[in-house]
Each structure stands twice: as C-alpha cells, then as structure tokens.
C-alpha cells in the first residue's frame, strides 16, 4: 500500500468558492479506491489566493504544493506527484511566501485550525502562559512597548487603550473583538478566523487578563457564515481544553467569549455603532466622548479591538515586545497583513514588516494587473481610502507616510485598477456607498452624500462640469468638518484624491 502521509486542502471560504470542497472530496474518493494510506486535512489558506485550490502533500524537504487544482486534476496529481505540471515545489519556498514575514499568520494555511494539539505544537498558548506569569500591569506594559497600533483602521496605540480600560473603576469590564471587516478589498480577519481561530481567542484572553475583564464578544459580519461557525467551534473547543472559561489553565482567572453575528450594516464596524448593535439596538454611532474605553458596552469600560490587533498579542507576549517592535519603521511597528486584490495577477495576503513600498506590493507580489493592461490607480484603505496614481507607488507602507500624502492604510487593503477605470465614476460611487450605509445620525453625512452622488451624476453627464466640481469640493468640506464619524468624515478622501490625481476623468465629458 502506498502512503502519502497527510494531504492538505484549504477549507477557507475563498478556496471553497473556487472548488476546494470538490477537490477534497475527489481526493478522498481516489485515495479510497486506490487503497492509498493518507489523511486529508482541511487547513486555512496560505493566502496565495490566485493559486487556490492549493493542495499540499508532505515531503521530505517540506510540503510541496499544487495549484490551482480542479477535481479533474486529482487522479493524475496523486499518481504523478512532483512530476505533475501543477506542482509548484516546496510551498514555503515559493517567492510569494519566502519573502514574507509571517508573524500573525505564521500558522494560517499550515495547521489544522480545529486542533488544539497542533496549535500548541506550533507555539500556540505560549503567550498566554507568559501573560499569566506577568500579571496585568506587565502585560499592558509589554503591549505598549511593542508599539502595536490598532489594525482596524484608526491605528490607535493598543497599550494605551488597554491601560485606560484597566484603570477605569468599574464593576465589570468587557473585551469586544471587531470582526465586522466591512472594508471592501479586505479579508485578513476572515482568513485568520477560519485558518487560526485559537490565536484570536488567545489574544482576547490575554486582553481580558490585562484589563480585568471576564467576558468577551466577537462581533462577526453576517457575510462570513463560515468564519462564524469556525469561531463558534473554536470557542467550544478552547473551553473544553481549559484555556477559556472558568479558572482557565488552572490560573484562578475567568474569561469567556460569546460569538455574535452582525446583520448587514457597514456602519456597525464603527466601534460605538458596534456596541449599540451588541446591546440589541439600531447600529447608530454614539458621540464621543465618552470613549468606549471609559464607558463602552452596557456602560462599562470596554476594549474594542480589531481581529488582527488581538491576534498579534500572543506573539508579543511569547517573543517579547522587542521582537515585535524591532520590525517596522518610524511609528509603525511590527508587521502588517496587507490584502492585495482587485485587478491584480497574484492576489492574496502579504504579511511584511511596515516599510516596504506600495510598488513592491503591487508589482512584485501582485505581478501587475490580471487583465494584462497597465496599472492606473490603486485604492488603499478600503472604501474611504484614497485613489492614488502610479506616481505614488514608491510610498512606503506605514501609517505616517500615507497620511503625509493624503491617504491612509486603514485595515490594509490594496485594490488595483487597470487603465479602463473611470475615476469620476469611482468618486460617484464613493458618495453612493456613503449614502447607502450612512446611519442617519448627522446631516452632513446623510444629506451630503446624496447631494454628492447627484452632483457627480451631473458631472458624468457632462453638465456644467467646473461649477459642479466646485460644488463637490464644498460638499466634501462640509462632510469632512461636520460629520460625527469617519464614514461621513472620510468619504471626501476617495472623492478628492480622484479629483486631485485624475482630474482629466472629470473634465473630459
């Protein structure tokens, strides 16, 4: 009987969307009929998404990969092994992965995400054990020292937020994980929850210890049914294993997690709207102050952090804050999981220390456009991020460098457009999106976005172009200065950047 050891097929939603379940099923059938000894493991994805379904097989020099595999390739692939034309050799040595610095995503795509044993074997829970030794104040100090900033968009220093929550007197405190991931062009939260859910749980438990919270919530958008199920299973497993729940790891500390589903509202990614939603109300933004760190969920001090922020914490504790801080540049420390998508030849997840250029991301990792036409624009930072021309591609990926040039890195999405894009149309869309998703609480956003969309429609129809452009600028100013939150406040960013860098698209009607 031949033995193939373990065969890995991603069970991540992206891989499944291009046929990974059919491939896994076919492998099981072929293996059974040929009497091959093999174990099929459903992993997360490595993040080489253009190569999905990417099948991997154990080999002496490290796992070898095949991709993109369809169910029709399976029989030949199992017979030919390395000689099969879809073989890409050792996966970890693939240029897309070999140059990355996988810190938060070290296990994603590698391990069985349902197995705590594997999690432990791959350095899992080391951060939590260390945190239990250190105690609350030293945990907060380690996170502050690491330079970690929130990966949800605003980039607020995580240690300072935790310290505020810890120091605010209260009868209860909460840890809320923001897994609403509403920004178009982003998928790292989903990838992590599906491929390495225990890392997020470990990060939340550490946050709970640090601030003295005993309850946590993960608010996951409804568009992610698979991540919701994975997280629910992982929470149950973690509780059974004893690193979540009462007296976790025999420490005398308690911390438990509840998974909650969103209901299709972009604004619920904004932290105060998210808290309203968790409390069972309309997802409308609350005025700040008070900050959620002082008065958050049910009026208690609350840590609200993005999935990637919390998932970075176990490594910081396990390896020490210096390890994390020594990666990166300026005030952007550690690594950023960058999500490359849109019209790009090789889309996927690129985790690197801050400081690489946008050009490296788009050209070297991405390999240019999928259509083969020239790159004309990139939008970084989600629907509220700026549209940039290729002239700005040498900008280093770091919070401040982007701000200086009128952009933002947000949650790390990079969307590539070829030369068929019409930036006036994209500006119209930015207003439309804001009008569609506005929570309705303040006038500049609610009315400004609708006015902006109508005005852009006139420009697109060639009506009184220059005066209408002036009107768009005025609307943007009102929205930027008068909106309660960043949905209204930042919608001007895609609009004005399109106007600044691609004026010809507005004028040529």
């Amino acid at each position: 009987m031949t033995s193939l050891g373990r065969i890995y097929v991603p069970g991540d939603a992206a891989a499944v969307s291009v046929g990974a379940d059919r491939v896994a099923q076919r492998i099981a059938d072929v293996v059974a009929t040929r009497g091959i000894d093999a174990e099929i493991v459903r992993t997360g994805t490595r993040g080489m998404l253009w190569m999905e379904p990417l099948v991997e097989i154990d080999a002496p020099g490290g796992r070898i990969g095949f991709g993109p595999v369809s169910e029709h390739d399976v029989a030949d692939l199992l017979a030919l092994g390395r000689a099969h034309p879809l073989c890409i050799g050792p996966v970890a040595a693939h240029p897309f992965l070999a140059t990355q610095q996988r810190v938060t995503f070290a296990r994603c795509g590698v391990v069985d995400p349902t197995s705590v044993d594997e999690y432990r074997r791959h350095a899992g829970l080391r951060g939590l054990y260390r945190a239990l030794d250190l105690g609350p104040e030293a945990i907060v100090e380690a996170v502050t020292e690491s330079g970690l900033r929130g990966r949800g968009g605003a980039g607020f220093p995580t240690g300072i937020k935790w310290q505020t929550v810890a120091r605010t007197p209260a009868d209860a405190r909460f840890v809320v994980c923001n897994a609403d991931e509403g920004d178009s062009g982003t998928f790292a939260d989903r990838m992590l929850m599906e491929g390495d859910p225990f890392a997020l749980i470990e990060g939340m438990v550490i946050a709970g210890l640090a601030v003295g919270a005993e309850r946590g919530f993960v608010y996951i958008r409804s568009e992610y049914p698979y991540a919701i199920r994975r997280m629910q299973e992982a929470v149950d497993t973690a509780r059974r294993d004893g690193f979540l729940g009462r007296d976790l790891l025999g420490s005398g500390h308690h911390f438990d997690i509840e998974i909650r589903r969103g209901a299709g509202a972009y604004i619920c990614g904004e932290e105060t709207a998210l808290l309203e939603s968790l409390e069972g109300r309309r997802g409308q933004v609350r005025p700040k102050p008070p900050l959620p760190a002082i008065s958050g969920l049910f009026g208690r001090p609350t840590v609200v952090n993005n999935v990637l922020t919390l998932a970075a914490v176990p490594t910081i504790l396990a390896e020490g804050s210096a390890y994390y801080r020594d990666l990166g540049v300026g005030r952007s420390r550690g690594t950023m999981p960058i999500q490359l998508s849109g019209n790009v030849a090789r889309g996927g997840l690129v985790e690197r220390a801050f400081g690489l250029t946008l050009r490296e991301i788009v050209e070297e990792y991405g390999g240019g456009t999928r259509s083969g036409r020239p790159v004309r624009a990139v939008q970084v930072g989600g629907p509220l991020g700026a549209y940039w021309p290729t002239a700005l591609l040498d900008t280093p990926f770091d919070y401040e460098a982007f701000l200086e040039r009128g952009g933002m890195i947000g949650h790390g999405g990079v969307v590539v457009f070829d030369d068929s894009v019409d930036l006036a149309e994209q500006a119209r869309f930015a207003f439309e999106f804001c009008a569609e998703e506005s929570c309705g609480k303040c006038t500049p956003c609610r009315l400004g976005a609708t006015r902006g969309r109508e005005t852009m429609e006139r420009i697109l129809a060639g009506e009184r172009i220059e005066p209408n452009i002036e009107l768009v600028r005025d609307l943007c100013e009102v929205m930027r200065d008068g909106s309660l939150c960043a949905l209204g406040g930042l919608t001007p960013m895609p609009v004005l950047s399109a106007l600044e860098h691609f004026h010809e698209d507005f004028a040529r009607r």
Binding site: Q25, A28, I40, G185, Y224, R260, R261, A263, G280, R281
Partner: protein, 160 residues
C-alpha cells in the same frame, strides 16, 4: 483509511426549508434570548433565518418577551439590511459591487444580469459591498453559497 474532514460553507435555509409563521415558535425563540444581554438582534436574526423573514406578528411577541417597546423592536428590524419583513424570492443573488470586484467588471456584470431579465420574482438580485473574497472577484452569494471569479455565463448557469 482516509480521514476526511471536509467542512463546507453552511447553507442558509432556502425558501423551501423556511417555516410558516408560528407564534409558539417565535415565543420560544424570544424566551431563549430574553435573559441574554442584547438579545433582541440575535432573536430577530434567528426568526429571520427560520421563517425567511420577520412577520409583523412577531413584533409584539418579541416586544413583550424582551421587555422593549414595539417601536424599539420595529426600529431595530428596519435598520439592518439582513432583516426582511417580506418573504424572499425563491433564489437570491447577492452580487458584490465593492471596489475590488468593480476593478474586475462587477458593475457590468450586475447590469448584464438585470438586462438578461433574471431579476424577477423568482430570483432576487441585490448588490452587496464586499464578501471578503476580493482577490477572486467578481464574487456573489448565490442562495447563501459563495461563488467567485464569476462571469455572466457562469452566473446564469448557477441560477438555472
């Protein structure tokens, strides 16, 4: 023996599995969530999943069980895109119109699908903004199942 762990995307309840309105079942769901913090939204979602939409008759039941006013329940019900007050069409297509999908032709795809007359009472086509599968666009949820790298022929194929 090969060990296969093959989780696939959970299917959303399709209209054929949706239940007829049943006040007792609604009351049971409401009761289950009544002592949980912030239970109204999860209760509404569960009703929406089970029955395909939230019938107006569910509102007073929820209000009573969760100790909220009818106006509050109605306010929550009307705020969230996922919560329906009418039964859904037999098939639903949530076609992504996020920027990453736009960059690979999703806007045209939506126009084509609408032109092809597929958007009728049997099939409901609605735009959504990002499904978290942006590297493999254009994407859609077809009856709750995520499909990627779509073109017109494929999408029509999915539906027939």
């Amino acid at each position: 023996m090969p060990v296969v762990r093959a989780p696939s995307l959970p299917r959303m309840a399709s209209p054929s599995t949706h239940l007829e309105f049943d006040a007792e079942r609604v009351r049971e769901i409401a009761r289950r969530w009544s002592d949980r913090d912030g239970g109204l939204l999860p209760a509404l979602l569960e009703i929406n999943d089970r029955f395909g939409h939230v019938d107006a008759r569910a509102v007073p039941i929820l209000a009573e069980a969760l100790n909220r006013s009818r106006a509050e329940v109605h306010g929550v019900l009307s705020f969230y895109h996922d919560l329906r007050t009418e039964p859904p069409a037999r098939h639903t297509v949530a076609l992504c119109q996020g920027e990453a999908c736009q960059a690979v032709g999703a806007t045209r795809l939506l126009a084509e699908i609408r032109q092809a007359g597929l958007d009728d009472h049997d099939v409901q086509v609605a735009p959504v903004y990002c499904l978290g599968n942006c590297a493999l666009g254009p994407c859609a949820l077809v009856d709750g199942e995520l499909v990627a790298r779509l073109d017109r022929t494929q999408l029509i194929g999915c539906l027939s």
